[in-house]
């Protein structure tokens, strides 16, 4: 009987355009669209930034040190034009209205500082909303400073090696897979949790509140099928929808990487391929199935209680934030799976998935996370049953 109800509800759900959009179309398309837009914008921005001729305002003596050195930098490092101003007020006004991209102030006595080998002051003005301009100034000054330093060493007759007392080398012992897992691994479970929740939401409302609102639940309850069987049949569709939406989102993400070539680095691409093994996918789903059952179990009592689609939606939508917010813990570096975090629902799944991607998973902690989620899923199912069995909640 559970399967008969499941089959019918699945057919009904797959014919609902709204659910279909939330369950399949949006999750599949969202990442290819976002990534495509992001990659194209970022590529065009980089191209523009590299080729853009910038105008640099300058207040200072003609042929001052900075002017000469800036002009000496080849335009392959970024084309530039230097415009002299009499005072900083006019120059800063032009910087503010975007006629200039950078502005500089060189003191009239700048050359005296240089001659007496004192630190010579230069002020660069930039507009932080004009992205990349501070970096451009820093890149120029790195070259100019290095050249000036070499000249002073030469004048003073100092061997550069002798003023460099230490040579420190930092070696990373973490594999790239571990780094990706720990730093970016939180993204994967976040997607799964966010889309899993949204995927569960519409079928839960449609199959419970919707049935109540349309007046079909009454006839279903007069059939010789136990209420728990009706609940399980419907719940199965809600869980499947959540898992489908999450899988569709992951599929979309995978397609973005494979088809749209959003990852240029071959090494990273190889690591991503090695992460996506059958074993990884099976372990991921074993963690995510109880989570999705938990989501369904949280939504169903609300959907059973609500009198209209609108009411159910208005209660469940804010719940989305409460449920999905802990998933953002995955983005913070340093928070790891331990006996405490393994007991926090949602957070444990995110951290366990991160460890799974990094390949540093402790099986005891995964078992603990799985048990916590399974217990919560069972509690959520019991609560759902109690609600569904309450006659005044089911029939309007």
């Amino acid at each position: 009987m559970i399967f008969t109800i499941f089959k019918k509800e699945l057919k009904d759900t797959l014919r609902d355009r709204r659910t279909l959009m939330m369950m399949l179309v949006i999750p599949v398309l969202i990442f290819p669209i976002i990534m495509n837009v992001f990659v194209s914008i970022s590529a065009s921005y980089q191209k523009e930034a590299a080729t853009k001729k910038i105008k640099i305002g300058m207040v200072g003596a003609k042929n001052n040190f900075l002017y000469n050195e800036l002009n000496a930098i080849p335009s392959s490092l970024g084309a530039k034009e230097i415009i002299f101003y009499k005072d900083t007020t006019e120059m800063l006004k032009d910087l503010k209205n975007d006629s200039l991209q950078l502005a500089s102030y060189v003191r009239p006595d700048f050359n005296q500082y240089m001659d007496s080998m004192k630190p010579a002051p230069i002020v660069f003005y930039h507009n932080a909303t004009d992205m990349g301009m501070q970096e451009r100034a820093e890149a120029y000054m790195k070259i100019i400073e290095e050249k000036a330093k070499q000249e002073r060493y030469k004048k003073l007759g100092i061997d550069e090696i002798k003023v460099q007392p230490l040579v420190t080398e930092y070696k990373n012992i973490a594999s790239n897979k571990e780094m990706i897992g720990k730093l970016a691994g939180g993204f994967l479970p976040y997607i799964f949790i966010a889309f899993g929740f949204i995927g569960c939401m519409y079928p839960a409302i449609d199959l419970f509140t919707g049935e109540k609102e349309r007046g079909t639940i009454e006839t279903l309850l007069t059939t010789p099928v136990a209420r728990w069987q009706i609940l399980f049949g419907k719940m199965g569709v809600v869980v499947l929808s959540g898992l489908t939406a999450a899988t569709a989102a992951l599929f979309g993400l995978f397609m973005s990487i494979e088809v749209l070539d959003v990852v240029d680095n071959k090494e990273i691409l190889e690591i991503i391929h090695s992460i996506l093994s059958v074993k990884f996918i099976l372990m991921l789903y074993s963690l995510l199935i109880p989570l999705t059952v938990f989501f369904a179990g949280v939504m169903i009592p609300i959907a059973v209680y609500a009198k209209s689609f609108k009411e159910a939606q208005s209660i469940i939508t804010p719940l989305n934030i409460v449920m999905v917010l802990p998933a953002m813990v995955g983005f913070f570096p340093g928070i790891e799976l331990n006996t405490v975090t393994a007991c926090i629902p949602v957070v444990n799944i995110v951290l366990a998935t991160k460890e799974l991607i990094a390949g540093t998973l402790e099986i005891g902690l995964v078992a603990l996370s799985f048990s916590v989620m399974l217990t919560l899923a069972v509690i959520a199912v019991i609560v759902s049953y109690k609600r569904f069995d309450k006659e005044t909640n089911v029939v309007m």
Binding site: K8, D12, E218, T219, L221, T222, P224, A226, T392
Partner: protein
């Protein structure tokens, strides 16, 4: 056969409901110790104004609601002890019943046939008979959402009868229907009676009751004010017509 003895239903009121009803009572008594009996081959009508307790009573008979106390026997089965077995014997139809708009009549009938455990052969035979009788062949594969009210009503009837129930419960089955569509229901009730089924239907329209029923009970504020045959009712009338007599009985109970 339906046998109802001392049936009582009390609802616990939430704070919100207490506010809405402007009462401090924590419970509301919807049905107050009612007893009646519906015989096979006869049509029993539960007549009462809105809010009298008709729907609650019929929902208890069809096991959607659990009674607070009392007993219900459906075709000899204790419906409180063994609701699932009792449901196999019941066909339930209400005027407000919706249908799954995204399914076709064929899919819906198949679904309910499966839920009632109807064998493939029986389902095929009953489907053919009912489709022919109700003239449903033309629209059997169209989505229910695209059907007219009359067509939907026919699908509802077919769904109610697909497991050949011994007892048929109709809760205000003609409410909101035009006379032509309502005629399908009238015919169905007569057919059920001729087939020896036990039929109970609720209504607040006296003329409909007069047209169909053999036995009747008038219910008001959860209590039965009259129970007997239609013939008894007519012969003991104090008012000029049936509707006036129904109103007189209800008013008399309020003044008592």
């Amino acid at each position: 056969m339906i046998e109802v003895t001392n049936l009582k239903k009390e609802f616990i009121l939430s704070r919100q409901q207490q506010k809405e009803l402007n009462t401090k009572d924590k419970t509301a008594l919807a049905v107050d110790s009612i007893s009646f009996r519906c015989e096979p081959g006869r049509v029993f009508s539960l007549l009462g104004p809105n809010g009298a307790g008709k729907t609650t009573t019929l929902r208890m008979l069809s096991t959607i609601f659990k009674p607070t106390s009392g007993s219900i026997k459906i075709a000899g089965i204790d419906a409180i002890e063994n609701p699932q077995e009792a449901r196999k014997k019941i066909g339930f139809l209400t005027g407000s019943t919706g249908l799954y708009a995204r399914l076709t009549p064929n899919e819906l009938i198949q679904y309910f046939g499966d839920l009632y455990g109807v064998s493939k052969a029986d389902l095929k035979e009953r489907k053919e008979r009912l489709y022919h009788l109700l003239d449903m062949n033309e629209f059997q594969n169209k989505r229910i959402g695209k059907l007219s009210t009359g067509m939907k009503q026919k699908v509802s009837i077919c769904r109610t009868m697909i497991h050949d129930p011994e007892v048929v419960v109709f809760d205000e089955p003609t409410s909101g229907l035009d006379v032509i569509t309502a005629e399908n229901i009238i015919t169905l009730i007569r057919d059920c009676k001729n087939q020896g089924k036990t039929v109970i239907f609720s209504s607040h329209i006296m003329s409909e009751v007069d047209l169909l029923c053999d036995d009747m009970a008038i219910i008001h504020k959860g209590k039965i004010l009259f129970e007997g045959t239609m013939q008894d009712f007519r012969s003991n009338m104090q008012a000029d017509n049936l509707t006036a007599e129904f109103i007189r009985i209800v008013h008399a109970s309020q003044n008592a």
